[in-house]
Symmetry: C2
Subunit: 119 residues, 2 copies
DNA sequence: TGACGTACTTACCTGTGGGTGGGTACCCCA
DNA sequence: TGGGGTACCCACCCACAGGTAAGTACGTCA
């Protein structure tokens, strides 16, 4: 596989969690799926400005393998695929919320720019 | 600088937090410093089996720049440098705890190996 | 006298995360 | 009739994260 060799031996829980979340867009995908409940591929692509199709697919595949997202394929033409969070995905998102709050505080502290994400 | 161009525009809080934590050993350093309160360079190196000196220094420097760790240099020979967490570092660690719990659960679920970390 | 420890620095090298861009099979709409 | 949309796959490429190894200035211990 060209993707990741992960799931290696971990030092601690944070290590294991980071392994699953690390990836430029993974936390954003998590957030997006948590917000909308279920999203089609193209909706995700449009919701994550700047993401390349390749990376979006690769990340979604890895997150599916990791049991975080569910992939529902409708055998239609044109193709239709719906992504949603699994139970583990939802709980991971919940576990990330405190980190998100810390980050938001940090953005205020250092006065960093924020990307505009309006649907 | 050969290090990082980070602090870029962020999509959300998680993005900003991940920016600061991403790095193979950073969460471990955080955990180690939180556990021991204050540690010398060589103590950290020994506490993180497998870390290279270069990466440990680079990570510590970045975390210092990011205001997470404090670096206290004692003008002695042989040299003595003590690292500890700042207020922000402590709060980041607290924000990571729920993620750590999720990861520990995940390790149990998938039955991953854990590295033995005994002092 | 020399091996070891302290806290680094510097140079060099490699693996891979991620980007670009093209192709596909099919359908709808103008 | 052809341009656009769907959800991908594939080949190629590059920057950079991270590893390896050597060197440094000084002190202690055997």
């Amino acid at each position: 596989m060209a993707t990741s060799a992960r799931r290696g031996p971990y030092f601690c829980g944070i290590d294991a969690a980071m392994d699953v979340v690390s990836g430029k867009w993974k936390s954003l995908i998590l957030w997006e799926l948590n917000n909308y409940g279920t999203r089609r591929f193209a909706e995700l692509r449009r919701g994550l400005p700047g993401v390349s199709e390749k990376m979006l697919i690769q990340h979604l595949r890895e997150m599916e393998e990791d049991g975080l997202v569910h992939r529902e394929v409708y055998r239609e033409v044109p193709p239709k695929v719906e992504y949603s969070l699994t139970e583990d995905g939802v709980s991971l998102n919940a576990a990330l919320s405190s980190l998100g709050r810390w980050g938001t505080e940090r953005i205020k502290r250092i006065g960093a720019e924020k990307v505009d994400l309006s649907p």
